[in-house]
């Protein structure tokens, strides 16, 4: 195993922050967030799972798709600029998997989303293994582990005075090529795992489509978008044109895209005003079935990384594991 002293790690991170945008867990008043940091000192080391996943650095809450400039009958379109390099440090395995899941929709499935792809090409994922699982974590139920390195470019595991380092991709190799790594005997101690039951099979989710309980769950749902916006894999978006300040005689606009969620009441409205998912139960069902049935069908992987954010943050305790557990029981 190769290790790096904490001192050298901090020096390296300071250096990275000077070259690229360095994003890492950072303590802001009410909690820990992935934020751009200037120095290693600003990193929250002993933090639990950050409040939000790192999705916003690849798929920002809102961004410009293009700028439109109208001058009389003429129209000029201007594409938005491309992304700058960034390193996300201290990424949790669940959040790295979230990014891999987004990749399948935005990059791996043609046509490529150039904005996402440009950010993704310019982003390195440097993980920090969790030593244990939090109360609401269920990464083990979706085939991950608290110290799962698979979706990272580089993985660090904290061993106290030193950290074990492992590069998993050529880009990761290049990133740590000049680090003063020390070869040490022994293996990295695996994180403590907790097996979490309750997650139905894709087949059982699919079978649940006409289950009467969706309506009961829907009665409690407030139709906010919290679960989708704290989710590492929810990627629905809305597109609209908005006016920009313009010089005299011209009209400037920007075409924006911004996060949207299928939990919103008017989300699935058709142009004629018909709403196929007017009922909150059908929206909840759609979101959960998207995670485990629809998204895998469209893009490959299941769109749940077991981070447990939706379990904790739901104002009315709509619990994926509880809903799923009951469905699995019904299926058996």
């Amino acid at each position: 195993m190769k290790t790096l002293s904490r001192e050298n790690l901090n020096l390296w991170l300071d250096g990275l922050a000077a070259q690229h945008a360095l994003i890492a867990p950072h303590l802001e008043a009410p909690g820990v967030f992935y934020r751009p940091v200037q120095r290693a000192q600003e990193i929250a080391w002993e933090a639990g799972r950050p409040v939000l996943p790192a999705k916003e650095f690849l798929f920002p809450p809102s961004e410009r798709l293009l700028k439109v400039e109208k001058r009389g009958p003429d129209v000029r379109l201007e594409a938005s600029p491309s992304a700058a390099p960034q390193v996300i440090f201290g990424l949790r395995p669940c959040d790295a998997r979230g990014i891999r899941v987004l990749d399948t929709a935005f990059v791996d499935t043609p046509p490529i989303d150039s904005r996402y792809a440009s950010r993704r090409e310019n982003t390195l994922l440097v993980g920090l293994a969790c030593r244990s699982m939090g109360a609401s974590c269920f990464c083990t139920a979706v085939g991950l582990a608290p110290d799962d390195p698979r979706d990272m470019d580089v993985m660090f595991s904290d061993r106290g005075a030193t950290l074990a380092v492992q590069a998993l991709t050529p880009r990761g190799e290049a990133l740590i090529a000049n680090l003063p790594l020390v070869e040490e005997l022994g293996e990295v101690e695996p994180a403590s795992r907790r097996e979490v039951g309750g997650l139905p099979t894709a087949e059982a989710w699919k079978e649940s489509y006409s289950d009467a309980r969706w309506a009961k769950h829907g009665e409690r749902c407030l139709s906010c978008r919290l679960c989708a916006y704290v989710c590492p894999t929810c990627r629905c978006y809305d597109v609209r044109d908005e006016a920009l300040p313009s010089p005299p005689g011209e009209a400037h606009f920007e075409r924006l895209r911004a996060w949207d969620s299928c939990m919103r009441e008017g989300y699935r409205l058709t142009a004629g005003g018909h709403n196929p998912r007017a009922a909150s139960g059908s929206r909840l069902r759609n979101r959960l079935l998207c995670k485990f049935v629809y998204y895998p069908h469209q893009y490959g992987p299941a769109a749940c990384t077991g981070c447990g954010r939706c379990l904790d943050a739901c104002p009315v305790n709509l619990d994926l594991l509880e809903i799923g557990g009951a469905l699995q029981e019904a299926a058996q």
């Binding site: 009958p73 978006y237 609209r240 044109d241 699935r268 469209q298």
Partner: protein
């Protein structure tokens, strides 16, 4: 977004409105020609596909292509004024610039329809994406069997492509049946819902494919009726609508179960979407 050749499919091509013609109450047929220059041409497209039109500064919305590649390079769209984008498109004058993104979505399997009888059921503005089917059949009349068109609207003023009815009727082995929910004084055709008209025409399911487009409630009931008339799910096609934002299978807006209307559709056979139709309603 970029395709294999590096073009950005979220980036619209610039076009000009070459014609804007009133077809019915608040319904216009827009003719769009792409600007010459360095831009790539609008690729060849097939019946069933759709494209996004941008009213710059207001937004973008998907519309079924109502023209065929064979009949010329002008792209035609039937646009009913409903919301902000359609209002913006209606207010454009001939010569104004607009954006076009497409063609997107799948197509009607016109080859598989050859030598079959076709039953085309269009309700209101839902008739727009069916016009390319009708035109393709009329332009290759010998390749298809009997063509029966059932055309409906809430009111005669909402019937689209009225100036083409003569030519449709004049084609060999072609029938056109009209109905409106509510007639005006000049109306001398059937009055009633599309389902009434289907019952009256009583089409035979033998060697026939039915293609339906219209409001969800019409699709649902017409489909039920066709099933009763002996049309198997594989013989019943629909083209569906959703207020999508990308048309590329990304934005997630248009899913119907595991299918995306934009990428897997908009044309579906009932064998694919029969189970979901209830939820679409």
């Amino acid at each position: 977004m970029s395709t294999a050749d590096g073009a950005d499919p979220m980036y619209p091509l610039l076009g000009r409105l070459v014609s804007s013609r009133d077809m019915g109450r608040e319904i216009k047929l827009l003719g769009v020609k792409l600007l010459n220059g360095t831009q790539p041409r609008f690729p060849a497209y097939a019946p069933g596909q759709f494209a996004f039109l941008s009213a710059f500064g207001i937004g973008e919305a998907p519309f079924g292509l109502a023209s065929t590649t064979e009949r010329g390079e002008v792209l035609e769209f039937a646009v009913q004024r409903l919301g902000s984008v359609t209002t913006g498109l209606h207010e454009l004058a001939e010569g104004d610039a607009l954006g076009v993104r497409g063609p997107l979505g799948n197509t009607f399997p016109m080859e598989a329809f050859q030598h079959k009888n076709l039953l085309v059921l269009g309700g209101g503005i839902g008739g727009a994406p069916l016009r390319p089917v009708i035109h393709s059949v009329l332009d290759h009349r010998q390749d298809y069997g009997q063509l029966t068109i059932l055309w409906a609207a809430r009111h005669p003023s909402l019937l689209i492509f009225r100036d083409e009815y003569e030519s449709w009727r004049a084609a060999p082995h072609t029938e056109l049946h009209l109905t409106v929910d509510e007639a005006d004084a000049a109306w001398d055709h059937h009055v009633g819902l599309m389902t009434d008209l289907v019952r009256q025409v009583a089409p035979s399911a033998a060697n026939t494919v039915a293609i339906t487009c219209g409001p969800p409630i019409m699709i649902y009931h017409v489909d039920k009726l066709l099933s009763e008339l002996g049309f198997a799910p594989e013989q019943r096609y629909v083209t569906l609508e959703a207020r999508m934002h990308c048309g590329l299978g990304k934005c997630g807006r248009c899913n119907m179960g595991e299918l995306l209307v934009c990428r897997d559709g908009p044309v579906f056979s009932m064998a694919q979407v029969g189970n979901f139709l209830e939820s679409y309603l």
